[in-house]
Symmetry: D2
Subunit: 350 residues, 4 copies
């Protein structure tokens, strides 16, 4: 009953097997091997266009270097107030990009377009003192486990375009969002106006596989230097490539994310049918946020369930009573139906 | 015949097997798992004292964050003119630490103590304009494949102590140096006066396993923040721990390095007995630098051998004739006697 | 009728005269002259204790370097949401200190203690992902022209102390606040718990005279390097010292600020008696914020008055009607009664 | 007898008078006043083309921000081994630009073209590990008091052009160099291929007047943000403009530099005729480096002369005997013939 985070899971057997195979041979280092090159081409197929792809060590690195690659002097990046880049990466995006992150409010983890517009308006291109708008970053799926619809992405992308700002997507849970929307990778990104993507594999079955995808390869012209200067260039880079090789083969990544979403849906349904609990907001990918009596939460933990009490967002206090807990449950490729059902049974009986 | 670099090798089977085993279970993230903790304790044993250990993604990160952890405002770090931190890390040490790297000359890749003393003297603690001496970094084994003797480390450490400077050791090839000297890890480090160590596993049989070891845990008090802020904290950190688990078990790391050194020695002996070639300088760990006729080098490459033409250090021109090549050969745990002998045979016959 | 900002004024004759006198002699550079030293001692007298004082070029530098001197890795600085350091310095505080600025809300430009407490609670000392609380910065007088009372400073200082955080005061309008409270410099700073002060002279009659005052000289031990590394050490530093010499002599600085406050009060009283206008919030130092019909504002501008339309703070919309303007008027040592009265007459008649 | 540095002098009466006049009026802040604008136009005249001009607080800021404006990710700036940017600015150029400074050797404070070529060749545009060549910075007049001839500037500029590198000139003593060469500002800069200039006024009669001149205004498009983000934008910027107003009027700047050079020449001639002393290298601007018996140097200091013992450059030891001192004497607009002659008399008699 490990629902603390999808990064508590191990690695999928197919990925593990591919790593084993890779370990027995020699190959050139620092991303120059044939395998590295072939995986880069695979991304072209997946995104149905020429892209520039770079592997990095962590999701924080993917976000921070994405922003560094589109930074402007004195620039500001707009993101949701609960976005990883502003609240969970210890200032790495600021340090790598030299930009400040500006919070935009909106319900369910999504920036509200009108809030985004009004925030951007405070920082015009000649605002030397305030700093100038320089980028927008959206998280898909969001930190709240919700997913921007294609129309919602369009709305954000239009604001980006109207203001001449590049659009970054933090796709730490990209595959989960894709499965939720049932669209193609291209449809969820560059066809909508996304310029740079943090493409995460770690939370979805790899042990360490993060990439940055530039939909306009020109944007990436300085990237090799930015990556090396931030100590993110692996010498045995091909072991990242090997993970992606298995991950992307035969749509493994999509089926893993589909399973995780399904398990979240099972949790959601279960909590929805409990009298003693309710959902905090919609479940759309692989995260479920529920409000339940504190004793239930405690009982579940004592019986071995792992999940996090959630820091209440700013608009939450009225929703959660003093004797209630708001908890986050995250599912992954490794979550089983048995785990879900056992967990629900405990909550129901507590 | 892959002698280009030890990072062209794959991963050792025992390490690979340990990774496979780790992949099947759940565990808490970001370095908080039991496995992470137990490996940290293993480092205490290996170094015969309480140390603080942190995993990072790359050797460049290990060096750059080591320096960041001991940085002073307006500080300068002294290192050999061919050190990785000054010539091969694209400014990452400067960026992460805010310090400038200052080159110290010396033969065979080692800082000459008198040169170090005179360089430091130019930057006293009140030198606001020049900047002030803040750290010394030595590479063991060196970029030239040589190894500082214990007495030579003592000499550098004394200079560090006399000037109140912390001493960093770049141990990307730490195990190779250890086997060359035949001493214990403690004897090569803190017993001599080393304060912080970049402990490399990647070049010696892991696919990605680098650690920073603080011999005074107090030095590490801010380190968790420095690491996160530079995007170097793995979510599935325990996969690094798993590699180190196998790496350190039953002295695997030492036997792998011993093998690599032996293969280098076999190369060295072979080149020493060729009339047409000679060694550029002593071989003490797992790198061999030889000068041979350009046609020989070319013939070897055409027959599949991989190695690098070496950028001649400043004092080399007089040593290498116009029709000669200075080449670097690096051996690893995966180098075989057959590879070495075949390579030597080609060079002999060309 | 120049009410746009107190930095539109020139320099006071006494300061100008002192600069002239200084220009005729030789003296040692970079802050080492006798004059520099004697002014440093003057600050000891003014603050009734030993302090460390450093001159810098701009108020932004004073704030940014103050924060740099008390920064922690992965640290966060808490300040009011309208503070200069978060909204008007183009990220200089972030760049120099490596910290992120976190906005705390509160009416009239002052942080509300309960908001400050709850914001700090989100960033405990082991919050590696979120970042950790590292400093509090308060502005005195505030950006809204209000002044924290001694009791209000005590409340902020207590929060700082309870959380082990250093307390910075942005005193760009320090003298105006002092005259508003009628207390001593010591009483408004270190006796309350302020650790570092940006002491501004530029807005109050100097042409360029900003200093950082450390109430614990130990805090300043690295400062000379921080200042030089950010290009803020003047070679002819004594010309800053000369300005402060005249500024501090015979309480000139206090009488200049007193005059500015008086002029603001005259404006305030005038607006208070107009039927067509009202004050947006209290006037306590040398800034007046008034709401008046847009035609009145326009008429005043056409007749030569200079002031800024104010970007409405977040809680303002309900206060200002669509046909009204919220304007900021700033007075200085150079503002005359005639200017004030003429301006009020125009507003009254429009 | 103040020969320690030209920054020990005060300010010229005409500049002082212009400052006084400026102090009595109101004007808009942050560089937007009419005076600021008119001085910017004056620079167009002086350089015979449209330029973009920005005032900053210090020479270190001028250099560091010049480099920041032309920086590339992972970039290296090549400069003489004794250049201010590498040895005397405490890492500010590295911090502001994110680049590393690479030392190029050459006699008399000038980069030797062949050395520059060979250093650049080590850092090609795809050198991700080493970093890539990104800029060249030359100092005119040099730190050794010598002046690059127009042909020597051409040689450096050609190397810059051949390698696609922007060329920066550190003109802290620009006017002195100009008078030494007897050419126009245009001829010494953009007509030779200089892209960005640190234009210094402080050492030549202002108390604080430094500017950055971009010969291609396009290069400056982000500069306003770079300057604000480094806390270098003066609120009362017009007081810098006022200094330049007097400085540039009726060629005052040229006559002041001419006088300083003449005084240096008088010193040079005097030392040349002493049996007991000799010049260390040629005197071409306003700095004289002489070798004299230590007792003479000491006697002069005891009689009130001020100058610096010079840190011997690397190729000096053979030139200076154990009982000799290498001293630097700098002249300025404020140096008198009497001072020079008195000083020479003391040295002659000691």
């Amino acid at each position: 009953m490990f629902f603390a985070s999808d990064n508590w899971a191990g690695a999928h057997p197919a990925i593990n097997e591919r790593l084993s195979k890779e370990s027995t041979r020699f190959a050139s280092a620092y991303g120059s091997s044939d395998l590295d090159k072939s995986i880069e081409l695979r991304f072209n197929e997946i995104f149905e266009r020429e892209v520039a792809v770079f592997f990095v060590a962590t999701g924080t690195a993917a976000n921070s270097l994405s922003l560094a690659s589109i930074a402007r002097a004195g620039g500001l990046t707009f993101c949701h107030s609960e976005a990883h880049i502003i609240e969970d990466e210890c200032g790495a995006p600021d340090f790598f990009s030299g930009m400040r992150m500006v919070a935009v409010e909106g319900p369910d983890g999504k920036m509200l377009p009108e809030n985004l517009v009004s925030r951007i308006a405070r920082y015009p291109q000649d605002a030397i003192h305030h700093g100038r708008a320089a980028a927008i970053s959206m998280t898909q799926a969001t930190e709240a486990g919700t997913v921007y619809t294609l129309e919602e992405i369009d709305a954000i992308a239009k604001i980006a375009k109207d203001n001449g700002l590049p659009l970054h997507m933090d796709g730490a849970r990209f595959a989960n969002a894709l499965m939720a929307l049932g669209c193609t990778p291209a449809e969820m990104t560059w066809k909508r106006g996304v310029d740079v993507l943090s493409f995460g594999g770690t939370k979805n079955g790899c042990w360490c596989a993060e990439a940055i995808v530039f939909f306009d390869p020109q944007l990436a012209k300085d990237f090799a230097f930015l990556r090396k200067r931030t100590a993110q260039l692996f010498s045995k880079s091909r072991f990242i490539a090997a993970q992606f090789d298995a991950y992307l083969k035969d749509d493994l990544w999509l089926s893993l994310a589909g399973h995780a979403n399904e398990m979240a849906n099972r949790l959601r349904a279960g909590f929805g049918s409990l009298n003693s609990a309710r959902l905090a907001w919609p479940t759309q990918a692989n995260e479920v946020f529920a409000i339940l009596p504190k004793p239930s939460a405690k009982a579940a933990q004592e019986k071995g369930a792992r999940f996090y009490d959630w820091l209440e967002p700013r608009d939450m206090p009225e929703k959660v009573a003093g004797d209630e807990a708001l908890i986050r449950m995250v599912t992954s490729f490794a979550t089983t139906e048995e785990d879900v059902d056992q967990f629900l049974a405990i909550c129901a009986s507590a």
